[in-house]
């Protein structure tokens, strides 16, 4: 495959679609599929046939606004329909050449206008199971150009210049990581894509893999060329069957097109990718644990150094990046590192995909430039808290993150800015809570999660999370004392500073942040035996046996 051939495929695909008067893109991501968008697509196709129209009905990935699903986008008018079901198909097809059907139209300018799509640029526009659709939107151009015109150092320079930081949550500079792996000695190196999206409440990686899998593969291939690797693994959660099957199709097609395998783009570069399924362990999102899991062992983290960049999978230098990080690579190479660095804030460049969920009107995926204020995301894009309830907190960063109150909604979203206020970027889950949520109970929920997900290797995490959970349980059942609160804070400090890996080190964050901003709720539970939100039963249950 050469650049010219790629161009031919792109043109042929485009002219094929140009034959149609209209295109109807039907969202077939997990969210809309669960509302039978497959039946909708079939019904639309049937109606197009019955009404004798020249229309192409396309299966696409996620359009983001899961709350309004099933969604369908009619091109070239760009009419977005919401809550569209099979029975509406006839009406929609009938109105293709005239005014759109008003009552089904989704008019959420505010939701879409403030977003900037880089990672999601193809989501909702291409068929994720057709590689030619991806090629028609400049897919694989970056890889083939890189192979023919760029040196590995040149690629790393572009990535460094872009200021891209790891999108899995840690925020380590991607260019620096690539440079370290490239410099590591060894003929055999690996590239791993971390798709073990364990944060409950986050689904960016699932959506990217379901909607635009080729983009991730292209990013991995570019990375492999830059660091000198020849073998890649994508580690995906087994809980994401649709993402896994679309990825399988994508890999097969990429091999068929000669974009994976031997001598890619008629150069000496060889690279192939295999899928490894996760098996439901949150700790496997930690890179050393993930490597252990790919090696077929229990997913237990190891002390670092040595970092995977030096000694990773089977002791070889290994590059591990998150799905979203890889998804950013192709556009960075196509448009240049500077273009990317122009977006975002001083130390956090580019855009970030967030999964907006919880008590918010427009649940779904949004992609916004870094540096945007939390308030803009929640009130403008997210549409605020529904049903007349009052906003209480937003939780970012999953079980490692923190809960931020209304007074902090005006901070800019950036890696460092969020850490400063006791939360973190995490992989991008953003869960909004209203006045019906009890913050002590929320802290207990996360601690319960960390307690069961702790791998048990190091004592501070294994025993500490259990003890913290026990204390929170006491407080939630009205038997906690002020001395318990003191002990809880001390425990948080110990677990934070002495745990081996990120899971343990960050597990106290939900407690610390709720103590920092919602201390009065803890006090209310302890002193007045009352749960202000009315969530906790405040009835002493049997004391749980702890580890």
């Amino acid at each position: 495959m050469t650049l010219e051939e790629l161009d031919q495929i792109a043109k042929a695909t485009q002219s094929e679609y140009d034959k149609y008067d209209h295109e109807i893109n039907v969202c077939m991501g997990t969210g809309c599929l669960s509302q039978h968008s497959d039946k909708l697509k079939a019904a639309l196709e049937e109606q197009v046939k019955a009404q004798g129209k020249n229309v192409f009905v396309r299966r696409t990935g996620c359009m983001g606004l899961c709350a309004a699903g099933p969604l369908a986008l009619v091109d070239p008018q760009e009419t977005l329909y919401q809550h569209l079901h099979a029975e509406n198909a006839e009406n929609v097809v009938k109105h293709l050449d005239s005014e759109p059907v008003k009552e089904l139209q989704c008019d959420l300018r505010e939701h879409f206008d403030q977003q900037v799509h880089v990672v999601l640029e193809n989501s909702g526009h291409i068929d994720p199971e057709k590689i030619d659709d991806y090629i028609a939107r400049d897919g694989y151009q970056a890889l083939l150009t890189a192979l023919s015109d760029m040196t590995p150092q040149g690629i790393i320079r572009q990535v460094t210049e872009s200021g891209l930081r790891g999108r899995g949550g840690g925020g380590y500079p991607t260019g620096l990581k690539w440079g370290t792996v490239a410099k590591s000695a060894g003929a055999l190196k690996y590239v791993i894509c971390n798709g073990d999206e364990g944060d409950p409440g986050a689904f960016m990686d699932r959506s990217v893999l379901e909607s635009d899998p080729q983009r991730v593969i292209e990013g991995m291939a570019i990375a492999a060329y830059a660091v000198g690797a020849s073998k890649g693994y994508v580690y995906v959660r087994a809980e994401y069957p649709l993402a896994v099957s679309r990825l399988q199709t994508a890999l097969r097609d990429a091999r068929r097109r000669g974009l994976l395998g031997n001598n890619i783009g008629n150069t000496p570069f060889c690279f192939d990718v295999e899928i490894r399924l996760g098996a439901g362990a949150f700790v496997c999102g930690e890179e050393t644990a993930l490597i252990a899991s790919i090696e077929g062992r229990r997913g237990m983290p190891k002390p670092r150094p040595p970092y995977p960049a030096m000694s990773g999978l089977w002791g070889k230098p290994t590059l591990i990046n998150n799905v979203e990080t890889f998804a950013n690579i192709a556009p960075i190479l196509r448009k240049g590192g500077k273009w990317f660095a122009n977006m975002g804030s001083e130390h956090s460049k580019g855009t970030k995909v967030f999964a907006l969920t919880g008590k918010i009107t427009n649940t779904g995926l949004v992609e916004v430039p870094m540096g945007i204020r939390l308030r803009e995301i929640i009130e403008n894009i997210g549409g605020g808290v529904p049903d007349g309830h009052k906003f209480k907190a937003v939780q970012t960063g999953g079980p490692s993150g923190g809960c931020l109150p209304e007074s902090l909604l005006d901070i800019a979203v950036s890696y460092d800015g969020l850490v400063k206020v006791g939360a973190m970027m995490g992989s991008g889950g953003m869960i909004v809570m209203d006045d019906t949520s009890c913050m002590v109970n929320v802290a207990k929920f996360f601690l319960e999660f960390c307690r069961t997900e702790s791998c048990g290797k190091c004592i501070p995490c294994r025993a500490g999370t259990a003890q913290m959970h026990a204390i929170l349980n006491k407080i939630c059942t009205g038997t906690g004392t002020l001395a318990d609160l003191e002990l809880l804070e001390e425990l948080c400090d110990t677990v934070k500073s002495t745990s081996l890996c990120g899971l343990g080190q960050t597990s106290p964050n939900p407690v610390l942040s709720t103590l920092r901003y919602f201390r009065h709720e803890y006090i209310e539970h302890i002193e007045h035996k009352r749960c202000p939100a009315g969530v906790c039963s405040m009835v002493a249950a049997e004391q749980e046996v702890t580890a």
């Binding site: 997990t30 509302q35 899961c66 709350a67 999206e197 986050a202 689904f203 098996a279 077929g296 969920t357």
Partner: protein
């Protein structure tokens, strides 16, 4: 080095051939352990003693290590599932939207705890750590099919439908 001869299949059940296929594809390498266990679980529905022993022997992994892996990962089940499975998502978004009440209601209706199967082997009740459909919270999976914005009544109705089948 002489070619490795894997042990014979435990029985002529066709599913063992699928399991063996996964191992062969990976050259009977030890690191194929988790992949193979996934195949066993998707073919048989769960992992029993015989299958763990067979996989461990075939891949030349100590039985203790294979068992260690099985028990480490939540996705693997050592108990056969019921005829139907109700999986309630307990991720953060679902929790905020009240899945704890759904779980309690299902437990009460079926008279079992989460992670258990009814005595007649009809319905299993499990929870999941987030299935990534948070936009549709609260979410349950009925026999693997994802249902969003689930209400308590809808869920109980589904359980009753299964009960009279």
């Amino acid at each position: 080095m002489p070619a490795y001869t894997p042990p014979p299949l435990p029985s002529d059940d066709k599913r063992w051939k699928i399991v063996n296929g996964t191992m062969r594809k990976n050259g009977y390498a030890r690191h194929a352990l988790i992949e193979t266990l996934h195949t066993v679980q998707s073919s048989f529905g769960y992992l029993d003693d015989d299958s763990i022993r067979f996989v461990a022997r075939s891949l030349r992994v100590p039985l203790s290590q294979a068992y260690g892996v099985v028990t480490f990962y939540h996705y693997f089940s050592l108990k056969p599932p019921g005829k139907h499975t109700m999986t309630i998502c307990s991720g953060t978004a679902c929790y905020i939207k009240g899945t704890d009440k759904l779980i309690a209601a299902a437990e009460q209706k079926l008279g079992i705890q989460q992670g258990e199967t009814t005595k007649d082997g009809n319905i299993s009740l499990t929870t999941a750590r987030c299935v990534g459909a948070c936009g549709r919270a609260p979410v349950v999976l009925t026999d693997g099919e994802l249902m969003g914005q689930m209400t308590q009544d809808q869920m109980i109705e589904q359980l009753e439908r299964w009960a009279v089948e």
